[in-house]
Every structure is written in structure tokens, then in C-alpha cells.
Symmetry: C3
Subunit: 128 residues, 3 copies
Amino acid sequence: MPLVRIELVEGRTNQQLRKIADAVHAALVETIAIPEQDRFQVITEHETSHLIFDPEYLNIQRSKGIVMIQITMSSGRSLDLRKALFRRIAERLTAEAGIRSEDVLINLVEVAKENWSFGNGIAQYAAA
Amino acid sequence: MPLVRIELVEGRTNQQLRKIADAVHAALVETIAIPEQDRFQVITEHETSHLIFDPEYLNIQRSKGIVMIQITMSSGRSLDLRKALFRRIAERLTAEAGIRSEDVLINLVEVAKENWSFGNGIAQYAAA
Amino acid sequence: MPLVRIELVEGRTNQQLRKIADAVHAALVETIAIPEQDRFQVITEHETSHLIFDPEYLNIQRSKGIVMIQITMSSGRSLDLRKALFRRIAERLTAEAGIRSEDVLINLVEVAKENWSFGNGIAQYAAA
């Protein structure tokens, strides 16, 4: 159910990109109980000129290694769970994919749980 | 008003892509009364490595023919209408664009109806 | 905090793209008090066939110079402020980047203010 969009500057290997995607998914599974198989991710690489970010907003020093992560997911997770998710995504990206913690930008877009169809034209999460 | 993002693995012809986009739009017109001319769609093709999906979440067998559709639209459609939309998108994609029904992933992001400007800097849907 | 996605047909220079991105950001700063440094933008260029738009929905004459702007931001701005934002984005794009006012399409996606992490895995906007 989460639809995860990952945007970064071009130049990484597919193996590096995979580690990044794996780390984000593992954090979702671990912190907010997303099923392991519930994985849908879109990775888009951009030219340097096309991914614009402030290098020090909020006194966080960002580099061209920035990873912008936008996660569309069903609403309903508590603030504590969402905070745990942010923390764990950053921790895992650092430990497992070598991303600087300062370069992890995350945004959550919450939608109604019935706003998903995983195939066959059915809203699988809508109450029967 | 719907802003429709369609993500798929690269390799289709422009004609095939157009049939996919046409089918999605026709389903919106048919089920939730989107005006025929209210059409704004972004198609993005990805390398296989960059579009990650589980091949059997919820026991639905997905292939590399997967079509991920994210529709941003104004809120207010009933659950029945949203279910009809999911069903009809899948039916039309199968009948008109040769997409396996299992390969149709859909997500709706609902926004306030005044959150759109279709040109000239005006919020055309906001009450006068 | 706004995450701004800008989609357009390929063919502009990087300098032209930068002027577009600059104009959108300046309008956000000016109308809804986004901090100057709070800037995160993703520009994606598309083949003509991949960016589909109606050329005259609502009697607005659109061209291939269309600029689709989707802004994810925290909720809470009044309708007047959102209207001012639309107006100012269009005005600045016309004056500073040579975009036809009819070619400015804008959509706002509003999220909870705690749904952002700007680095280090922390939800910087969540109440302490």
C-alpha cells in the first residue's frame, strides 16, 4: 500500500539504488507494520539541475547525495509511529546504503484506506 | 481536474501508451463524471530496476506489464463511485489496451476542490 | 516544506528551467510565507507524447509550453492565501520566465504539518 517515490541525482549504480529502496521498505515493515510483500516503489534519477534543494535549510547540511522520499500511504498512524518511521528510514539508509543522515528528506501523503486497488479493479482494503 | 500519473516499465510504443492513457481517462469520464476535456496525464517510463513491485502481494500475480496509476482528484466521491472507478479502469485497460487485470495498480489522492488552477492563476473550482 | 513537482515538455534550456523553478519558489515565499531556504523542487521533462493535456478545457487555450505544477505542502492556508498563491505563480511565471498564463496548471496537495522530515530522521515540524 505505500506507494514510495524516491528521487535522487543520477549516477548511482543499480545496486546502490536497490539498497536505498530496500532500506526504505525495511523501515516501513519494521515501524508501521507494512506487510513485507506490500512493496511498490518508483525510483527516478534526475540531472543535478533538475533536483533542486536548499543545502542548509533548518541548519541541516545537505549534499548532492540527497534522497527525496515521498510516501503515499493510508492514514491512521499515530504521530509516534510516524516519527519512528522517519527515524528508522534515516538510520537504515545510513547503515545499509551509505546515505548521510542529513540527506534524507521524507514526506508522507496520507489517503483513505479504501483509495487503493492492487489489481483486478478491486478496492482490496475497503470494508466488505 | 484529475492529475493522473501513469508509471510503467519502458518498452511500449507511443501508440500503446496512448491506449493506456485513453482507457484511464474514459473510465474517469464514465464512472465519476469527469468532463471529457478535463484531461491532464503524465506518463513516465522506467527501467525495470527502477519500478519495484511485489509480484504476488494479496495473491495477485503481477508481471513487468504493471501499470501504476496515481490519480489526484477532488474529494467527495462516494465509496461506491470510487469502487466503480477502479473496476472500470481495470476493465478498460484490459479490453482496450491489452493490460492484464492483475497488472493494474491504482491509488487515489483526494484534495480540496479549490486546490486547482487550470490556467491564468485562478482557482476555477473555488466558489465565487 | 513544499515539495514542488514541475512537469513540462522537453526542449527548454537549463537556464529557462531554472527561471521557472525560481518563479514558483518566489511566489511561495511571497504569498504564503514559505522561508526562502525551504526549497525542494523536482523538475521532470517529458516527451510530447507523454505529457497529455486538453488544449482548451474551461476555455483556456493551452500550448505545448504547458507547465504542470504539483505542490505538496502543509495544510492550513486560507482559501484567500491559496488563491493569492495561484495568482502570483502565474504572474511571476509570465513576467520572469516567459510562460503564457494559460499554460500554468497548479494543484495543491495538503498534508499534516508533522508529515515532513528534512533530514536526520526527525519530524522537525511536529510539536516538541
